[in-house]
Amino acid sequence: MRSRYKLLLLPLLLGFPAMTLAVAPALHTSPPATQAQIAALEQAVQSAQSSGDNAWMLISAALVLLMTAPGLTLFYGGLVRRKNILGTMMQSLAMMGLITVLWALVGYSLAFGHGNGFIGGFEHVFLNDVGLTPNPDYAKTIPEQTFMIYQLMFAIITPALITGAFAERVKFSSMAVFLSLWSLLVYCPMAHMVWGVGGLLNITGGQWPVLDFAGGTVVHITSGIAALVTALYLGKRIGYPQQDMPPHSMVLSFVGAGLLWFGWFGFNAGSALNAGPLATSAFVNTQFAAATGAIAWVVTEWFQNGKPTALGAISGAVAGLATITQAAGFVQPMSALLIGLIAGVVCCFMVFRVKKFFGYDDSLDAFGVHGVGGTMGALLTGLLASGSINAVFGKDGAGRPYATGAIDGNWHQVLNQAVGMGIGWSLSIVGTLTLLFLVDKTMGLRVSATEEAAGLDLSQHGEEGYDLNS
């Protein structure tokens, strides 16, 4: 047997030198590569990278849209009473329609145009000059329209998150006007300050560079604080808290939360704006924080109430995801585990105790999960951001990344993060209150008591979510 193998090796041994002999002269005789050839090669490499990045970014954009519908619509829809499911779902779908149009007309320009430190300019209104070539200000390898549509999905989900605070009691028309204006007055400036060129909080060149990888401040703080303000301004649902208002379908909420978790990979890992290693880092951190968030919430309530609930598990996962959003592309995987853990415990405490103590009716806990998670995420990012993951402040002469977060020794970053958080809170409080007041005085925000009792499905849309007789 052995000798037969040796025989098989023989032609190989003989073949190698023969091949080298054959190839060597060819190499020597070929003319040196011309400039044109090198340029063509570079072009091909660029095009390949661009295709890869673009594929990931288009999928990421679709994933983020999936978070709004059906993710958020099912999550919120299951948590309300049966008579309000369509009303709740329609609030999110309205954002998918309205914000898309606004974004195309003026929103993208206000967020990502040049403008000043606070808000973008008007050079991109009607998507003027937003074409299929990259905009080197934002993402060098993908068409600017990919960047634009990806950012649109964030602009859609942010106001949709707020709907959790005023569930079951707001007029559809007023909601649509309020949230559309909110997007222009609060979301666009915040996105510009943090991510826009020349923004006040921009990581490169901003006065207070804020690390916000995927929108902890831009998305979760703005929407979570707006949720709290809205819940306080509107007042409670009729009958709250004396009357029981348990979720009508935990199954829908469960499926919705699963889709949120899934879509969040596009939200966070997509925020790398390319398909490179940074996307992997954010992907890993996203999964890790969601896992510990779910575990921490469940364990906390297990001690509190004696049972691990399904609603606790999915709420904890969402809390972990909301909190890691800001840190996703800046921290080590072990930090992500820690961030999720803190998120699960603190958000659970906020929802169980603090809400009860103050007595506001944040119906679906948009503040308790997104506002609190976003705020914690802002600060934790300042503490745990590591230059070894993302050398966002550049590298020194020896190739070592400059200190990024407090964990690297840059305690100043925690202060920057706090400034960003403070601006996010302030802008959201002022903007939300102003718009609530305007819309309330002109259109009226709440439905009538009779309509509230009948439910939004029937009173606002003339439909029922569940017609068990047909």
Binding site: D244, P246, N305, K307, L311, G312, V351, F352, K356
Partner: protein, 112 residues
């Protein structure tokens, strides 16, 4: 003629139904009901809020039988629906004045 109404645990419906058919009961009506007796429901937790659910799902069976089937029917229900725990349900028996088969206007015991 007697009307037997039995309120039972939803999970026991299949075994009770089979026991009744075996006992010779030919027809019955089943209603999905909600209610409570002395056990007063249970509590549920949603995001830390405790909800008392005092009207819990039950199944109500109704059947009208001739007098001689009463004991067999009651035994069948007792045997199949009892777990020995609170919430097993109750049986009510009352007299029925008349029974009429809509299809052919048959009256009395023949219609049962």
């Amino acid at each position: 003629m007697l009307k037997i109404e039995a309120i039972i645990q939803p999970a026991k419906l299949d075994t009770v139904k089979e026991a009744l058919i075996e006992a010779g009961i030919e027809g019955m009506t089943i209603l999905e009901a909600r209610g409570h007796g002395r056990q007063k429901g249970h509590t549920e937790f949603y995001r830390g809020r405790e909800y008392t659910v005092d009207l819990i799902p039950k199944i109500k069976l109704e059947m009208v039988v001739n007098d001689d089937l009463k004991d067999k029917a009651v035994q069948a229900i007792l045997g199949a629906a009892r777990t020995g725990h609170i919430g097993d349900g109750k049986i009510f028996i009352s007299r029925v004045d008349e029974a009429i088969r809509i299809r052919n206007d048959e009256r009395g015991e023949a219609a049962v």
